[in-house]
Symmetry: C2
Subunit: 233 residues, 2 copies
């Protein structure tokens, strides 16, 4: 019944436009009563995004099941992949919705509020993991926001290509950028990455320095680089 309502709704949205379609039109085409519609969807907008509530619940559950040994940045990246999976499960539906959302300002606003809820879920998890660390809430908010932005950049590029290509690879690449910026390790845990550790880490317990310099670089720059590498906190 729920699926029937979603397909009836999308058929009408594509045929006559979102604004021109009423809930009555949808229930008539689906052959059910209005009450059935509202049992599944609080409003017409909600039928456009039928899976976000489930996905938000899955994400919250996934994050709640984390252990202390889970690297936090990697964990929120994995949580973001749950959203991608939802989109990638049904490429043609996702592409249709993407086009619809671009055309209807009310749906854009709805989508912003959904994105905000995903971002808060990631940030809340990170705030707990970073509790007691300097700037814990700042880091949590910034990293959550960066993860969502990277995910959405990759998702939109996949949607713009009509759902062609490997959505997972695109998103992995985008999330890898965030992981490398914020200290999560993008590839296998064995891969060393002092330099890719971002601002944290270098200079703590490390004592071999390799300097690669362009011929002709002034000595003060080389010295300053070395100082900078050690000073990063």
């Amino acid at each position: 019944m729920r699926d029937a309502l979603v397909s009836a709704a999308f058929r009408l949205f594509l045929e006559r436009g979102y604004e021109q379609t009423t809930v009555d039109d949808i229930v008539t085409l689906a052959g059910v009563g209005r009450r059935s519609f509202f049992r599944y969807f609080p409003s017409k907008e909600d039928v456009v995004f039928p899976d976000h509530e489930r996905c938000l619940a899955d994400m919250t559950e996934f994050l709640a099941a984390s252990g202390d040994s889970d690297e936090p940045v990697r964990r929120v990246c994995d949580a973001a992949r749950l959203v991608l999976r939802m989109y990638a499960e049904n490429p043609s539906f996702s592409v249709q919705r993407y086009r619809l959302t671009k055309q209807v300002p009310g749906l854009r606003a709805y989508e912003l509020s959904v994105v905000w809820r995903y971002e808060r879920a990631l940030a809340e998890y990170l705030r707990v993991r970073f509790a007691g660390r300097a700037d814990g809430s700042l880091r949590a908010d910034v990293i959550a926001s960066a993860v969502v932005a990277a995910h959405n950049n990759a998702l939109r590029s996949w949607l713009r290509s009509d759902g062609q290509g490997d959505a997972s690879a695109t998103v992995d690449h985008a999330l890898g950028y965030v992981q490398s910026a914020f200290g999560g390790e993008p590839a296998a845990p064995a891969e060393p990455s002092a330099a890719a550790d971002g601002p944290a880490g270098a200079g703590d317990a490390e004592d071999v320095v390799v300097v690669v310099s362009r011929r002709g670089a002034p000595l003060w720059r080389v010295v300053q680089e070395i100082e900078t590498a050690f000073a990063r906190d």
Copy 2:
């Protein structure tokens, strides 16, 4: 007249609540006609955020006036400071609005759409600056989003403290975190920072790369570090 409408509106919002106040109530208290209200504000929501359009215009102008010598990450951080300045100009009004917005879901949604417009303005600027670089649009979106998240984390903490304390210092600290993660230089412009450039930049136009590695690390790891530093795109 515009200011009179804003103060009448906030007096009523605080006295009877936002939902219970109509545009008619506002214009009656301000002693003007309905048409005057709508000349300044498209809707009741807009009177809650009277300065965002001007601030968005200022931000767009500021970014458009950038030169190639402006470090892009630093430039978007400076652009974000324009938003802070708007809030800090009138602490008691900003704190009142913060409390109101927390209580009214419709205003939260409005605020999300405003934040989204700031974020897009920063991202569009960065996309132009990063054009032709690998992952230019990804970097632009992620950094814009991180800047906005850092700014808002600091702004909210200042608003929660009832506008006490030094808002600028709090925001500078938060933006410094983003600059250090994404290669903007947090301190003086003269300071080079190939290593602090994060995953981006090294090997492009940088001419000094420093790799710091743990004593006892096998040679292949050190070699891999160097390769990684140069391969980063």
